[in-house]
Symmetry: D2
Subunit: 362 residues, 4 copies
């Protein structure tokens, strides 16, 4: 190991052949304190990472291996797990048993309550949480909400793209008591990369390129659970006291989440600017979050490829409704970038390490 | 005039160089009872229509003329006006004074109340409605809502794309008393053709192709007024008794509106299927509206280029919220196709004349 | 059968669940002399056609059946086969044996020479042509090139999208002796629907939406063979005397082929307008082909959804090179529309029957 | 000035409100030896750069100023000029007169011959080159071709996006004598950002999103001149001895150039792999250029947002034709990234400074 890399954390990426895995590779290549030492994946094992991701050609040439917890423990200090839920819990348990700091991008450790996991994620194969004992240790990985708990954490449950956008938009207004936790409606729009790298008719270009549609409506999308958990915390309500309407949409674009959260004001007579001011107050010292000037509205095109978030809040006096909006890149702040931000927070490094790049526009 | 065309209504299109004008040309070419005899536009006058719209090459070769009400009256029985508001009212007044049946695609005759027009559309040039005397005569042109009034109408106010989608989605549930008219939220997504043919940064491909954003939020979009007017009628409320939250979005696609309407159920204990059933009942005999099977969700890609509408209603029992969704093509059922459907209804022709083509998919 | 449909040709579509099958359904719905009476497909058998193609909802509700030649013969006068090569030959043979007029959209009957088929299309399963005896009967289905032979034909080999565009662009210049048949280069660009409806990584929206790439370069694309066969005929050369360089590209759009053909002029001193004039002369009476005005260039957006073709020819005096360009919709004039045009030609009907619709723009 | 920035080159960006200006800002934010100290633009003067480019919000907040050569000289060591041709020459002359190292992204100093400039770029306002005396000093800024001359250069003419892709693809084969300089054909495909930030109908999303077209065909595109100049150098021919056919296309995507260069082999009996091998030999030590493995083909999606170039060469034995292909990002290696690479080369810094980021995929 060269002198230059000797002080770097050695990092393994498990589930490296999917989009969040590829994005972890891309971002970690520019991280001064981390060095990718292993990339693992099931079907792609045996190929080189730059065969699976030609954009990494000339930049990262590691051979993809099948997952092996001992190999990770021997060659890495930190692991990012970018695997399907259920499968991820077992991998994480094996890594934690070997003392590897683990950032889990699946949903397996996001819900604090094992019963909630079983209700939302239980399957025939895994009716109960496969590693429920670890739930108490896991920190929900939005640094802007749980920074203190992240410091020194060994297991971080990195949230999904929809929850990150939704929570960052509305949590400060709930925390400040400006909007009611009752009757929240989240109408969210996602690019197709959020559906992952496995091809299907819904993301087949001819069918997806010129259409928009909602999916998993009516309370069916699993991200609803973690959104409610986190918003209940923000609103200082009991877990389960809060039910949101969450409608995800698939849009004809690659990256980006735009979350529009509709809320009832607690006091309709309040100054219309109060909602935006609450965002300004909450995010004044956050390196990645920009509250847009009054009158400007978030656009996913302005945060693409970066860990940045654009937020805004507007009051509709006619209809007595507050609208809070956040835009972010689902693969960066909505997944891999936030995971790295959590690693930085956990290790006590500046949170911006490896994440300083400006968005790619246009 | 050939024998074949002698029994056709002669049609003038005013404002022929914009997208709704071009779409009128395209659709009327296939209408067995109409014949385009004049195309008029301001800046494009002197050019041939197929220079302005190369897709019409070999199909329509009329010379574009400047608007002249006498020329229209001499050479046409019917006029479609696809002009900006304010300007349109004056043109319509001139045409109606000459007895020309007029279908106005602007907002000028959609609101029944001249004061409401002044509040929403008044400008320095036109602080008051330029032709308020005609408001009483105008019929709001959604045949599925106002079929009887359209029969024999001389002036039809063809609604906007957002209102058509929103009203078709939720009006039957309001009319049936299944949802409350209070607190309606409409989150609507539009393709870029809705912004018209004048280039601007918001629809410049590099800035628009990979982003999504809300615009004119907080009660600022003018279509709010006609949505409220029509939903109040459906709910049998006084005009002005109903305030909706309406959030339009610009999406990276060319055609299509997806309107998601969130409503509170009047009885949360009701059977979850009741909402879809109300749509089925309302649209059972409508030639252009398909209530999707339970479980299926509307996609703008499935109605593109056609006058068809796909609708669905879903009940979210967890959050006690009804979601009604409609998908349509903003330039067809949201503008030119609906205008032709109104003409058919006004003349007592089958409403499907010239509008029978299947959507273009993929 | 109703009186209205009693004089219609009964049509079966085999391979109805792919894009060309869906497009045949869409177009035949508007054909006054044809009636779709059977839709057949392997995997989709048992579903309704409007489940497989939601854009047909309310328009066509036939149940999809597994292929059965006797059933076709009993219930249809005409069959369109939209199947993979090899498989199609067997289906076509069964249909022809039962006297069904067959329009084959596969490559199986496009090459006149069985040895050429074996060289380009032979597989382990079908090393030799499965129905070579029918090759002599098959007519290559570009009506603009083989109209006389199509009249009364029982088997039409409908050409691929790339060949149609390439041949229509350059054949008239070869036929007129204006360009050399040596050294032709065809650089062609296709929308993703040309790759069919089976999802794959190459057409997965996140990977395809913002990239362009060539594929099957270096003489590897099978369409090369039929292009050479037809251009040799145009140039009055022996089959095999002509070798073209053909480079297909996949573009981030759904429909459209743009073929650019580079050729050496036979006389560099000739008037620059002569090449366009040759196109004008060749296509003066063609209902679907527009030679654009000098200075205008074809754009696939201007022919989308229609059977129309825009062509142009330009001379580059500096480099002494002729460029002929054609734009068409790969699913219409490049497949299903042309198949219907061939049926019309075969039956002696006006070629425009069912194909009169204007392109969808924008 | 902080200690951290005291050893940085101070950089002014002139023409900062266009895409190449914005891209310079984005990339220089990550450059460890450069610090943007001034951003200048005509119409946007007075606004903040992050108002004009919202993706820079929170990252760069400089006020845009009108151009002032003395101000640049006082506050910057280096200037990037991203201006229209003609206008740029005057700005560059003013800057060079004040000793500012200048990287000019316009075409004004790319052609060595003032007469050629007048022929290709002369206008009524500037019939002759406005600063011809500086032509001798200017270095054509492709480091892979002119690295030695760049070292210490005071004026770099950064090439256009099409020439960079075309030259990098074919120059090594010309230099190695493997292909003939006669009859070269370049068929190039560009994303819409290449047309700049000024909205127009050609890049209006509804008209551009689903179409492809060639433009400025027949030797009309001005980039032809610099391509010929550089390829003549590679082929060791006299300037003007070489005429290429160059056909640019506009594609429905934002970034990317794919250049396909067709050439005649000098010896058709040569091994098919020789062409790729020549690229491997030429680019073995280049940090930004990857010759793809045999069988792989360049895709613009794999280099997006980066300074990287993917190249390949293939021999078509049937048609005796060599095809060389390059893919790059038109705004990075095709403009701003290459300009920074030239600055690095001119200053003797590692060429990768500020340009190390991996492409953004998907």
């Amino acid at each position: 190991m060269s002198a230059a890399s000797s002080d770097r954390a050695r990092v393994a990426i498990i589930g490296a052949s999917g989009y969040t895995g590829g994005e972890l590779c891309r971002l970690l290549l520019g991280h001064p304190r981390a060095l990718v030492t292993a990339v693992m994946a099931k079907r792609a094992a045996g190929q080189r990472i730059d065969e699976v991701f030609p954009h990494l050609r000339g930049l990262l040439t590691l051979q993809i291996e099948a997952f092996d917890a001992d190999a990770v423990a021997a060659r890495a200090d930190v692991a990012f797990a970018a695997l399907p839920h259920g499968e991820s819990a077992l991998v994480v348990a094996a890594l934690r048993a070997r003392g590897v700091i683990t950032l889990d991008l699946s949903a397996d450790f996001r819900l604090h309550d094992a019963a909630a996991w079983a209700a939302w994620y239980g399957s025939k194969e895994h009716p109960e949480h496969p590693a429920a004992a670890l739930l108490a240790e896991a920190v929900y990985g939005i640094p802007e909400r749980h920074r203190a708990a992240l410091r020194g954490a060994g297991l971080v449950a990195v949230p999904g793209c929809y929850p990150t956008a939704s929570i960052l938009a509305i949590a400060p207004l709930l925390a400040a008591g400006l909007v009611s936790p009752e009757g929240l409606i989240i109408d969210a729009k996602s690019g197709a990369s959020g559906a992952g790298r496995t091809p299907g008719l819904a993301t087949h270009l001819p069918e997806a390129a010129e259409g928009v549609r909602a999916y998993k409506v009516g309370g069916a999308h699993r991200h609803t659970a973690e959104i409610e958990q986190e918003l209940a915390i923000a609103a200082r309500r009991d877990a389960g006291a809060l039910a949101v309407t969450f409608t995800p949409h698939l849009l004809p674009m690659t990256r980006g989440i735009l979350a529009c959260v509709y809320a009832a004001p607690t006091d309709a007579a309040r100054d219309a600017g109060a909602y935006r001011e609450a965002l300004v107050a909450a995010y004044a010292h956050e390196p990645f979050i920009d509250v847009l000037p009054a009158g400007a509205l978030p656009d996913t095109a302005h945060v693409r490829g970066s860990n940045r978030v654009h937020v805004q809040a507007v009051y509709d006096a006619r209809a007595r409704r507050v609208l809070a909006i956040a835009a972010l890149d689902n693969l960066v702040k909505g997944a891999s970038g936030q995971a790295i931000q959590c690693l930085n927070a956990a290790r006590g490094w500046p949170e911006t390490l490896g994440l300083g790049a400006a968005p790619l526009f246009p």
